[in-house]
Amino acid sequence: MRKNLIASLAILLAGSTAALAQDAVSDGKVKIGILNDQSGVYADFGGKSSVEAAKMAVEDFGGTVLDMPIEIVDADHQNKPDIASNIARQWYDTEQVDAIMELTTSSVALAVQALSREKKKIDIVTGAATTDLTGKQCSPYGFHWAYDTHALAVGTGGALVKQGGDSWFFLTADYAFGYSLEEQTSEFVKSAGGNVVGSVRHPLATNDFSSFLLQAQSSGAKVIGLANAGLDTANAIKQAAEFGITAGGQNLAALLFTLAEVHGLGVEAAQGLTLTEGYYWNLDEQSREFGKRFFERTGSMPNMVHAGTYSAVMQYLKAIKQAGTDETEAVAKALHEMPVDDFFARNGKVGANGRMIHDMYLLQVKKPGESDEPWDYFNVLSTIPGDEAYIDPAKSGCELVQ
C-alpha cells in the first residue's frame, strides 16, 4: 500500500513536471520559420541553403529544447514585402510559429519586423542589410545578426578609400537596402575627404546594366560603388569588364558580395575584388568544420548568411533554455544578455538596439591558380573589430536606447 502510494506520488510528480514544461513552451513545441528568397536574384545568397543551415543548428542542439520538439518551417517570399507579411501573419496566427528568421531583402525584413513587433514575436534577420532594422525601425523583439550596410561601408568602402579611391559614382538598387548602403558609404567616403560625383538607381533584378555602366564611366569617378547584391552585382561586374570599364582604370566596389556570388561569377571575372563578410569557411579549424559539414549537405560552401542563420537559430534555442520558457519577453531578454561565441561570431554581443556586434573580415578574391582547393576563394586582408564595424547602439537612433 505504502509502495503504491510512493509510486503514484512519483507518477503525479512526473506528470506535473511534464505539464510544467508544456506551459513553459507554447503549443508543446518550438517552431522557427525561415522566410527568404528561394527563387529570385537572392536565391543563392541565402535561399534553400539557409533552411538547411537552420536544420543543422536544430540537429546539433539535440532536436529538443526544454524536452519539447523543435520544428523548422520555410517559405519563399519572392522579395515582395506584401507576400512576406501574409506568410508571416499566417505563421504567427494559425501555425504557432514562435520566431521568424533569415529575411533576406531589406524591404521584406522591415515589413516582417514591424509585424513581429505588433504580434510580440521574435525575429532575427541574417539576410537583409539595412541599419534601419536596429535604428529608426528597431523592435524590442527584433535582432540583426550577420552584417549590415554600415559594416559593409566601413569594410569595403574604407579599404577602397585607403587605396586612393576618393571620387565615387554609385549604381544603387532602387529600394531600402540600396539607399541605406549608398548613404552610409557616401558618408564614409566624404568623411575621409573624398567626394561622390553622382549615382543612378536601377530596379531590383536588372538584366542589363550597360546604360548605367556607361553613365558611371562618363562620370569619370575613380570608384564605381555597386550598392546592390546577388545576381545584380554579378551581372554588373561581368558587364563592366565587357565595356572596358575596369581596363580603363576605374575600380569597382562590390559593396555586398559573398562567397556564393563569387562562385557564380567565377574567379576569372571576380579576381582582385575586395569584399566584406562576417564569416569565411576557410578562416580556421572551427569555421572549416562547419563549412565541410554544410558542403556535404548542400553541395556548396556557406557564406555569412548561411553561417549566420545557423548561429541565430542556435543562439535562439540557447536563449529559450536559459529563460526556461519560449515566452517572447523572457527569450528577448536572454538574447540581449547572453554573449555570442561560436564558429560564426567571435566576441559577439547584442546591443540594446538588437544589433549583434561581432568581428567582420575584409577579404580579397584570389587570382585563378592561387586557390589550393575548390571554394578556396579569399585572402583575408584584415579583421575589423565589431565595435568599428557596427554603429554604437547609443548612436543608432533606436528609441529603445536611452
Binding site: 528561394q38 527563387s39 529570385g40 536574384v41 536565391a43 543563392d44 535561399g47 532602387d174 543612378v200 538607381r201 536601377h202 530596379p203 533584378a205 536588372t206 538584366n207 542589363d208 550597360s210 546604360s211 548605367f212 556607361l214 553613365q215 564611366q217 562618363s218 545576381l231 554579378a234 551581372n235 561581368k238 558587364q239 565587357e242 565595356f243 572596358g244 580603363g248 556564393a260 556570388e261 557564380g264 561569377l265 567565377g266 571575372a269
Partner: protein, 295 residues
Amino acid sequence: MTMIFGIPIQAFLGQLLIGLINGSFYALLSLGLAVIFGLLRVINFAHGAQYMLGAFVALLLLQYFGINYWLALIVAPVIVGVLGAIIERTMLSRLYKLDHLYGLLFTFGLALTIEGTFRYLYGAAGQPYSVPSALAGGTNLGFMFLPIYRGWVVVISLIACIGTWLLIEKTKLGSYLRAATENAVLVQAFGVNVPLLLTFTYGFGAALAAFAGVLAAPIYQVSPLMGSNLIIVVFAVVVVGGMGSIMGAIITGYMLGITEGLTKVFYPEASNIVIFVIMAIVLLIRPAGLFGRDA
C-alpha cells in the same frame, strides 16, 4: 563638350547604341511571337522559356559535347525547334478548337513547368557562358567603348529579322503561310497540308526564340529566370506593334529598345515601366497596334 538635351553627346550616342542592342533582342523575340500568333492565333507564353532553353542547350552542348558557340548557334535552335514542333503536335494542336484563352493558359503552364524544372536542376543563379574568342574584346568608337560581341548581336539579329520577313513575304512557303492565316479551310481545300504548316510555324517560332537565347548567353548569365524577365516586355512590344504583324514587331522592337535606353539617361527609375506606358497609350489610341490591321 557638345550637349544634347542637357547631356553630353557622347553619353547620348552611347545610350542610343545600347538601346539598339537591347532592341535587337526585343525584335528577335517579338518576331517569333508575331509569327506564331499570326498563324496559330496562339499567344505563346512559353516563348520566354524557349529563349531560356536555347541558352541552356548551348551551355549544355558546350559542357557535355564540347560544341562551340558557332555550331550551337545553329544546333540549339534546331533542337528547341523540334521540341516545339513535338509540343505543338502532341498537345497544343488539341486546343485549336477551343477559345484562344486555352492556348495562352497551356503555354503559360508549360513555361512555368520548364522554368521550374531548370530552377530545380541548376539553381536560380546564372551560369557563365564565355564570349567566343573571335568576338572577344571591344573597339573604341570615340564616343563609347563597344564590345565587339554586342555589335555582332545587332548585325546578326537584323539579318535574322530581315530573313524571316523575306521568308514570309517573298517565298512560296510564306505565301502558303499567309494564305492559311487568312482562310485555313480554303487553303486546305487546295491540297496544302495546313496542320503540318502549323507545326512548322510553331517549331520555327520556338527556334527563333532559342536563337535569341544563344545570342544572349554570353551577355547575360545563363539562368532559368532569364526568359521570364524578358517575356512581359516582349509581349508589350508585340501589342504596340500590332498582334501578328511581322514588320510591326521588328520595327517596334528596335524602337522601344531605343526609347528604353534613352529613359535610362533622363529618368532611370522609369526605365522598366516606360514600355508599358507606351503600350497603354497605344492601346487607347490605336487598339490594333501601330502596324496592325483592325480585325
